[in-house]
Amino acid sequence: MAHVEEKLTAENFPAAPEKATLEGKNKFVGFWLFLGGETVLFASLFATFLALRNSNAGGATTQEMFELPLTFAATMLLLFSSITSVYAMYHMKNYSFGKMQLWLGITVLLGLGFLILEIYEFYHYVHAFEFTIQSSALGSAFYVLVGTHGLHVAFGLCWITTLIVRNSKRGLSLYNAPKYYVASLYWHFIDVVWVFIFTVVYLMGMVG
């Protein structure tokens, strides 16, 4: 890339802006690699959870604690935040910066809602069932797995918010397009993990 900056317009904006520069390409590949590693990270936590899922040490069982409506609401929030971030990327490709920002903003709000639900849920288990991270191996495995995911959500929220704020006055460029793109990849990945969490932890926990 020559460093003579050329004015970007909808016309000359590249079809794959995230990979239009060498830096972008590197970010793109590097981030996917990172996601490969994250897969193993979460798999290790899932595996631990599965090995300990019946180790409630006399405390409440997952069947007693988990409730479909709460999990369903959380799931919907997160799933919808996935499609909103797809919309954001759609607008990025079309070089409509404002719309992209808007959709990302909605994504953040949905994510925030999810996080609040999760915090409420943890609070509820602790107080209604005395189910804590220390009360049994099941408790440890549950909170660490779901909590790690929650931390990822929180980190993603901070990240996307930073992007929105930092670039609000600058508009879209080939410098920040890859940043937006990998943030959205990250967000989808969080969603992928959640699909397994609600299936393996909650639904399977309710089946027994």
Binding site: H3, L22, K25, N26, V29, G30, L33, F34, G36, G37, E38, V40, L41, S44, L45, A47, T48, A51, L52, N54, S55, N56, A57, I133, Q134, S135, S136, A137, L138, G139, S140, A141, V144, W159, T162, R166, Y175, K179
Partner: protein, 621 residues
């Protein structure tokens, strides 16, 4: 630009290294830090061998022995062997693929500083109430029970340095995927690059398992969780699995780059193309792949049941096949060649029988029922020192000598190199060969002493003598390094004369931008191809143009420093009131620096065409 670096004062040099994002300087940082930790680990090995030289010895106490033994293994694996390999990779891989830089110069530096601070943190345990003492594997039951903060140092230190390793791995992968020069297809990549690639992939997939294993241990020790508390339904075998899911690939993370080093050195000094290049690549990938399916061979005696044991036994043995392919390819590279016995070549050829001896005992260990006898005895200690020293350490030594000109522009003294070799080689076999029999005769490993009259006395004494020969060899190497850095003469391009790959196509050491013009690659061993056509240089793939360079940054150092501070807080949270604020301050520093990095635009700078031409005229190589 580079003229400036010549006349800097000490402070400026230090600042330069603290902020550097240049892979060549990061290589030197890795070399120095890794070398230091190697000496430390070696010193610990000497303490082990002194203590075990005679029965009922009281040179060190039982508790201290366990600390030394644990720190020896941990230091050698995480803080010496891997970083030293990273030094070689950083110095060479970008050059071998004809790249100006790595994909993520900033992250490259971050990776180093995380490793460094993690290592320093781990070793501070010596001064702060005692080092970890549960073995380098730190199995859950013992590690959870271990009093004091030793094991916390282990957990947190490895967590921080492991993060650095993971980052380094991702960086190499992205670099090799994205930054290859025109014409450098995957199947034209030198084998050192290939093995770096596969080893980095192993890092990417193995380290997260370690991260989780350590995190669970940390939660149990510091936050009262119950992962490994049988009374609350916990299960320590989970830790064993997670550790070895990481741990076995880890040994291939170590050995594959060493294989790569030998695959570079042997063709150069046999003056013959690597025999069976594509099968070498295939074998490398296959070893990496199989490496993930065999971890339970470390757990044959855990009681996993005959089905699991049988499956893992057979899978493990399968790895002998691709490794054998490599061994024979090396032998047949030499066959028909014209060997020049420089010291890198001497290390490389003596690696072959040494490593095979260690490899075949590995296959014996894989025979599950026999392993019920071998497991946790000195037979295992003998096995892994044979593969690690005969493979990895020989590889690091060979590679460091071979690429010393690339890193420092000078050659180590060959006579001293050969003295080092003789002492180290003899010492190595003397120390570890006999340990096979110590183990077979019934001595478990990790014992701080043994009682007389059980048949271990003479053999342990002999083993200890060998360790001192290795130490002597190492000291000669140190003298050599000091001597060379004072006296040694500058060398020019292709100092070994028979270089085949791209790092020898440019000056030693290379300029900061590596290649003035990206070279055009026309096949395997690109420099050799050009040489055979009578040319001295690579054909450029692009016209001379401005070169884009990344800016240096102190942020990686600060990010790592923040974590270093935070882990102190984490560890002392329950003991002292200042624990919590320190955690917060630490994380604020880290995340603050990251935040800063992400909102501050850093477009780097350019070296202008005119300056490049000037430099040519100036006659600076």
């Amino acid at each position: 630009m580079s003229t400036l670096t010549q006349k800097k004062g000490a402070g400026a040099v230090i600042w330069d290294y603290l902020t550097t994002v240049d892979h060549k300087k990061i290589a030197i940082l890795y070399l120095i830090a890794g070398g230091f930790f190697f000496l430390l680990g070696g010193l610990e090995a000497l303490i082990i061998r002194i203590q075990l030289a005679i029965p009922n010895n009281d040179f060190v106490t039982a508790g201290f022995y366990n600390e030394v033994m644990t720190m020896h293994g941990t230091t050698m694996i995480f803080l010496a062997a891997m970083p030293l390999l990273f030094a070689l990779m950083n110095a060479v891989v970008p050059l071998q693929i004809g790249a100006r830089d790595v994909s993520f110069p900033f992250l490259n530096s971050l990776g180093f500083w995380l490793f460094f601070f993690g290592g320093v943190f781990l070793n501070l345990s010596w001064f702060l109430g005692g080092a970890p003492d549960a073995g380098w594997t730190s199995y859950a039951s013992l590690a959870v029970e271990s009093p004091g903060h030793g094991v916390d140092f282990y957990i947190l230190g490895l967590q921080v340095s492991g993060l650095g390793t993971l980052i380094a791995g991702i960086n190499f992968l992205a670099t090799i995927i994205n930054m290859r020069a025109p014409g450098m297809t995957y199947m034209r990549m030198p084998l050192f690059t290939w093995t770096t690639f596969v080893a980095s992939a192993l890092i990417l997939f193995a380290f997260p398992a370690l991260t989780v294993g350590l995190a669970l241990l940390m939660f149990d020790r510091l936050f009262g969780t119950a992962f490994f508390d049988p009374a609350l339904g916990g299960n320590t075998v989970i830790y064993e699995h997670l550790f070895w899911i990481f741990g076995h690939p880890e040994v291939y993370i170590l050995i594959l780059p060493a294989f790569g080093v030998f695959s570079e050195i042997i063709p150069v000094f046999a003056r013959k193309r690597l025999f069976g290049y594509s099968s070498m690549v295939f074998a490398t990938v296959l070893i990496g792949f199989l490496g993930f399916m065999v971890w339970a061979h470390h757990m044959f005696t855990t009681g996993l049941g005959p089905i699991a044991n049988a499956i893992f036994a057979v899978a493990t043995m399968a790895i002998a096949v691709p490794t054998g392919i490599k061994v024979f390819n090396w032998l047949f590279t030499i066959w028909g060649g014209s060997i020049k016995f420089t010291s890198p070549m001497i290390w490389a050829v003596s690696f072959i029988p040494s490593f095979v001896m260690g490899g075949v005992t590995g296959v014996q260990l894989a025979a599950a029922p026999a392993d019920y006898q071998f497991h946790d005895t000195y037979f295992v200690v003998a096995h892994f020192h044979y593969v690690i020293i005969g493979g990895v350490v020989f590889g690091i030594l060979a590679g460091s000598i071979y690429w010393w000109p690339t890193m420092f522009g000078k050659m180590l003294d060959e006579v001293m190199n050969k003295i080092t070799f003789v002492l180290f080689f003899i010492g190595f076999h003397l120390t570890f060969f006999i340990q096979h029999f110590i183990g077979l005769n019934g001595l478990p490993r990790r014992v701080f002493t043994y009682l007389p009259g059980q048949g271990f006395d003479t053999s342990n004494f002999i083993s200890s003598i060998g360790a001192f020969l290795m130490a002597a060899g190492t000291i000669v190497l140190l003298i050599n390094i000091i001597y060379t850095s004072i006296k040694g003469e500058k060398v020019g391009t292709d100092p070994w004369g028979d270089g085949r790959t791209l790092e020898w196509a440019i000056s030693s050491p290379p300029p900061e931008y590596n290649f003035k013009q990206t070279p055009l690659i026309r096949g395997l061993d690109p420099l050799w191809i050009e040489k055979m056509e009578g040319k001295k240089e690579m054909t450029p793939a692009e016209p001379l143009a401005d070169i884009h360079m990344p800016n240096g940054s102190i942020l990686p150092f600060i990010v790592s420093l923040g974590l270093f501070i935070a882990v102190f807080g984490l560890m002392y949270r329950e003991d002292y009131g200042w624990g919590l604020p320190v955690i917060i301050v630490g994380f604020l520093i880290t995340f603050g620096a990251m935040f800063f990095r992400s909102i501050l635009d850093d477009h780097g700078y350019h070296i202008h065409k005119e300056d490049l031409i000037d430099e040519d005229k100036g006659g600076r190589a």
